[in-house]
């Protein structure tokens, strides 16, 4: 059975001419599918708008106050956490230095110079070890494995970036 233009008339908002109205009613009597569609239209249009229980605004004010209190609490907790982390970092930096503060300036200079030499030597050893390791790995691991590893790493980074952007966009769109 041909359902057009009746389906379109039923879906649209335009007022029908008397002739179109008659044609539609005739079609509805013989077409169960369009009749059901017409009934659905009518039922949906007839459904009333439901109201919330009285006191909705008051409940919102209560919720807003609770949300603000929570935000204040979060901000206070964040500040305390930040302050604690700051104090911890400062202490962690100061503690190793404290014993040296009792030394004479010359003793301190020689000690620091010794440390500097030790650090430079350690750096040189690590870089030599790294070069040797790379040399061995370069020969042991085939080229395609390097490419594959690098590609996987790039892909993981891209997925991470994309997921971050997607999450941000989704939130922004929901309140746009």
């Amino acid at each position: 059975m041909v359902h057009q233009p009746f389906e379109e008339w039923l879906a649209g908002d335009e007022l029908l001419t008397p002739q179109q109205e008659r044609d539609l009613q005739t079609h509805l009597r013989s077409c169960p599918s369009c009749f059901a569609l017409s009934r659905a239209n009518l039922s949906l249009r007839a459904a009333p708008a439901l109201k919330p229980a009285p006191g909705f605004a008051t409940r919102f004010q209560t919720r807003l106050a609770a949300e603000r209190a929570l935000q204040r609490k979060r901000a206070a907790f964040g500040s305390v956490l930040l302050l604690g982390a700051g104090v911890f970092i400062v202490l962690a930096l100061l503690l190793p230095i404290l014993p040296y503060l009792r030394l004479e300036p010359l003793q301190l200079f020689w000690l620091w110079l010794g440390n500097l030499m030790y650090f430079a030597l350690a750096l040189r050893t690590v870089s030599a070890l790294g070069a040797a390791l790379l040399n061995v790995l370069g020969q042991a691991v085939p080229l395609y494995a390097w490419w594959l590893g690098l590609a996987s790493f790039s892909l993981a980074a891209y997925v991470w970036k994309f997921s971050l952007r997607h999450t941000h966009k989704q939130y922004a769109r929901s309140v746009a």
């Binding site: 039923l10 879906a11 909705f56 929901s174 309140v175 746009a176």
Partner: protein
């Protein structure tokens, strides 16, 4: 400048009283949208409150060139769609466990002029809600915005971030599904085409 725009501008500057005026004006449309989307009064209340909270927190992002109702209902629709999707991923669905859910039973109003007709009307409303419940979340939102709020296809597309052709196809599919579900529930009743009107706004 109309009164509503004054409230909006004041609310954007942090005036709580102005926002309360907006809330009082739009509480029914927002609650109705949430109820039609979620199907349970408690969830609808919570979702409506959350929608207003999001609107309150994002008032500065509102573009005054757009109708406020469209923006607000769009926030609400997105929030309900998110809730429905989250609900779908819940391991144990409470909905599935209760065939006869705990929604308040609407008894016919004995003071109504025709209690029998009133009972039929309430039955039909329950059928409509049940039919909506059978739709996919975005289809449901499209149908609700179309029938309760008289949104055009373009407005629905803007609100739900879809293309106009996607909205057309979703509305077509959803109408057919509602028709099928309503027919399955009660096959009789003769209908006549009525002039359209928006009951919600």
């Amino acid at each position: 400048m109309n009164e509503e725009m004054t409230w909006i501008l004041q609310a954007r500057q942090g005036n709580d009283e102005a926002f309360t005026r907006l809330l009082e004006q739009y509480q029914t449309p927002v609650y109705n949208l949430c109820y039609r989307m979620l199907g349970e009064p408690e969830q609808a209340e919570d979702a409506a409150q959350e929608s207003f909270l999001r609107a309150y927190q994002n008032m500065t992002r509102y573009d005054p060139q757009r109708p406020f109702a469209t923006w607000l209902l769009s926030i609400s629709a997105h929030h309900c769609i998110d809730r429905l999707r989250r609900r779908r991923f819940t391991l144990f669905s409470l909905d599935a466990e209760r065939e006869d859910d705990d929604r308040p039973i609407e008894l016919p109003d004995v003071h109504a002029l025709d209690p029998e007709r009133e009972a039929v009307r309430r039955d039909e409303q329950r059928e409509v809600q049940s039919a909506l419940h059978g739709l996919e979340a975005t289809d449901r939102a499209a149908i609700i915005l179309r029938y309760w709020y008289d949104f055009s296809e373009v407005e629905i597309a803007e609100s739900l971030h879809l293309t106009v052709s996607a909205v057309k196809s979703r509305l077509h599919r959803a109408r057919k599904a509602v028709a099928r579900l309503l027919l399955a529930n009660s096959p009789e009743t003769i209908v006549e085409r009525m002039p359209y009107g928006s009951p919600a706004l």
